[in-house]
């Protein structure tokens, strides 16, 4: 009896070892890829952010000089302000719109497949194509102005991307429109993980659908809120393509489309200041990290992974 147990243990042990080795083997390539192309770059960026670093490498050791310069630089402050404003507007709108659309297409509707596909459709197109279309629709002689003009009965020629009062807002609107579909999908997944029993109980209690939604569905979606909020915040803080496309890289008019990443890109590529650009990137990483952590606290320990 005792001998048998020991052999079992032994085969069990070697079996465990085998499983572990196979496990490491399976994750080897993905993990290597994350180490080499994500984690190593992070460390490297941190390293060179302490130097004046040019196209040919190290020029000078500046210590915290790059970081000090960032906080003295009003262009960076403009970029930070724009990026935070953008995030503060876009994230709640994306979440609200995504959730509403998810709730709608989760109903027993006719042709809900069609609606679901329709809502997701703008998420498909590339930022370059969608921005090109937006540039046209929102140009001073574009469709939107034609509509406004025909409503008002006089020509309306506001250049939406050309004026600082509306340039960033137009990008916000554009991105809320294009990415809400993705958020809808994530919410849809979350909605479907809620057990039907809960609703049945609510129905027996005589709760209306509005009340059911706010009292039951909404709180139960906590993990979904967390996931969507994190994805949305990370994406919003990295806004680049549209700002680059719209302003041609200059962040204009009147700094309104200058974002952190556009600023980073300009310092790296135009000014060839790799060290400084990396310091900007590290600051952005710290912001993202802090906000993600904050969201985690906000949504409680919504079980992640």
């Amino acid at each position: 009896m005792a001998t048998r147990a020991r052999t079992d243990e032994k085969t069990l042990g070697s079996e465990k070892l085998r499983e572990a080795l196979v496990g490491y083997g399976f994750i080897l390539l993905p993990l290597a890829s994350f180490f080499v192309f994500s984690i190593y770059p992070l460390i490297y960026a941190l390293y060179i952010s302490y130097f004046d670093w040019g196209a040919l490498g190290k020029i000078d050791n500046v210590g915290f000089g790059n970081y000090r310069e960032i906080f003295d630089d009003f262009l960076f402050r403009k970029a930070l302000k724009n990026t935070l404003l953008y995030t503060a507007v876009v994230v709640p709108c994306q979440m609200a719109l995504g959730l509403s659309m998810a709730v709608i297409v989760n109903q027993a509707l006719r042709a809900r497949t069609f609606f679901r596909a329709a809502f997701y459709f703008p998420s498909l197109a590339s930022s370059a194509a969608i921005t090109a279309i937006a540039l046209y629709l929102l140009s001073s002689d574009g469709l939107l102005n034609s509509i406004i003009g025909s409503v008002r009965g006089e020509t309306y020629a506001h250049s939406w991307f050309g004026e600082s009062s509306t340039a960033l807002q137009s990008i916000m609107g554009l991105n809320i429109w294009t990415t809400s579909g993705t958020m809808m999908l994530f919410y849809l997944a979350s909605l479907q993980s809620i057990s039907t029993d809960v609703y049945e109980a609510a129905a027996i209690d005589g709760a209306g659908s509005w009340r059911t939604f706010w009292k039951i569905t909404f709180p139960l979606l906590k993990p979904g809120h967390f996931f969507v909020a994190v994805i949305s915040v990370i994406g919003s803080l990295q806004i680049f393509d549209q700002a680059f496309f719209v302003s041609g890289g200059g962040g204009g008019p009147n700094y309104s489309t200058m974002t952190i990443v556009l600023y980073l890109y300009n310092t790296a590529i135009n000014e060839v200041r790799f060290g400084y650009a990396s310091a900007v990137g590290i600051v952005l990483f710290v912001i993202i990290f802090t906000l993600t952590l904050g969201q985690r606290l906000l949504f409680g320990r919504a079980e992640s992974a």
């Binding site: 040019g54 040919l56 020509t155 020629a157 050309g162 204009g252 009147n254 700094y255």
Partner: protein
Amino acid sequence: MRKRLALPVVLGVVVVFAAVLAAGSQGKTDVASSSHATAASGSVTLSGWSVGKTEEELLNQVVSAFERKFPKIDVKYDSIPNYDQAMLAKFSARKPPDVFYLNSEKAPTWISQGLIAPLNSYVSKSKFPTKPFYPRLLGAFKAKGNTYGFPKDWSPLAMEVNLDLLAKVGAKPPKTWAQLRSVAQKLKSVMTGTARPICLATEWQRMLAFVYQNKGSVLTKGRPTFTSPAVRQAVEYYVGLQRDGLGNSPAKLGAGWCGEAIGKEKAAIAFEGNWAYPYLPETFPGLKWRFYPMPKGKVPGTLAFTVAYSTSPASKNKAAAWELIKYLTGPAGMKLWTSKGLALPARSDVKVNFPAPSRKPLLSEAGYAHVWIWPNGWDKVWTVGNNELGAVFEGKQSIPDMLSKIQSEAQSAR
């Protein structure tokens, strides 16, 4: 769908890894082949950006003329889109082309980082005469007594005028600031919708011409002088045109840039350069327009942009590279290069017979053109400058405040 997916996936991964490995073995730095030839022979790579097919063909002609003259040197030319960034990659990899375009705008940054080789020793060794180059153009590529490149061609800003629209109101192309205003006043009646008489770019890369016309300067003896009265007056004149409804920015007119505004007849007058060719005639064939010299303020003045041929310290065939630079910017090469009238010669000893009189006004500005060239770190100054100018156009910023903002940015530029 199971089997249909799995097999291609595995195959695909195998293919990718094979490809990556193959690339790796090819890509290893080839130190052995770096020959330090003393006599000019071997192959050189030549890179620039392309403005159009006609220009590219012309450059190929010039290159073959060179190869006939120097049969031992083999030139490989390729044009690079997104040039500045692409070159940065090549510099970082220490594999720049042997001869390449150097934009005056990029010159300070690239020179200060040691990416461009000084040519002084070659010049003195081969007794290359530098006198014939327009001094203002050559000056753009000099730093601390070294010459880093020789200009291949250049373009000043000039005035694009839509002749039909001017004829409609019976106006002649303006020659002075006062005439520009009065012509614009007349044009107001024929410009409908978003269109305005003048296209005014919200860029210092255009407006600065007016500063020079007012005898102003934003950099005097190495010090920024944005807040000087001459600068302020010029800006007031330029912005005043917009304030009085005589002009507007291209975005407000419904165009991407002023050349396009002319093409779409959103404006009758604009200030652009040689790059209007071949764009305008090709894209808007029916348009009747001409170049005229910039209007004169206190003095005639304009802004110029130039590009040089340079080489890098990392070049492995410097002797041949120098032969190529010498030929391309020498009298024979430049004569050929500018013969079709696509580019303006950077040497006063190269005379061009333009097939059409259209570009003569540009060349006539050579004597008073100021080259767009700034100290290292001024990239950001102009980013700030253009954003501030945009704010001024929107009425959200006053001109003096804008100028002092740019002034302080320029003072702290590094």
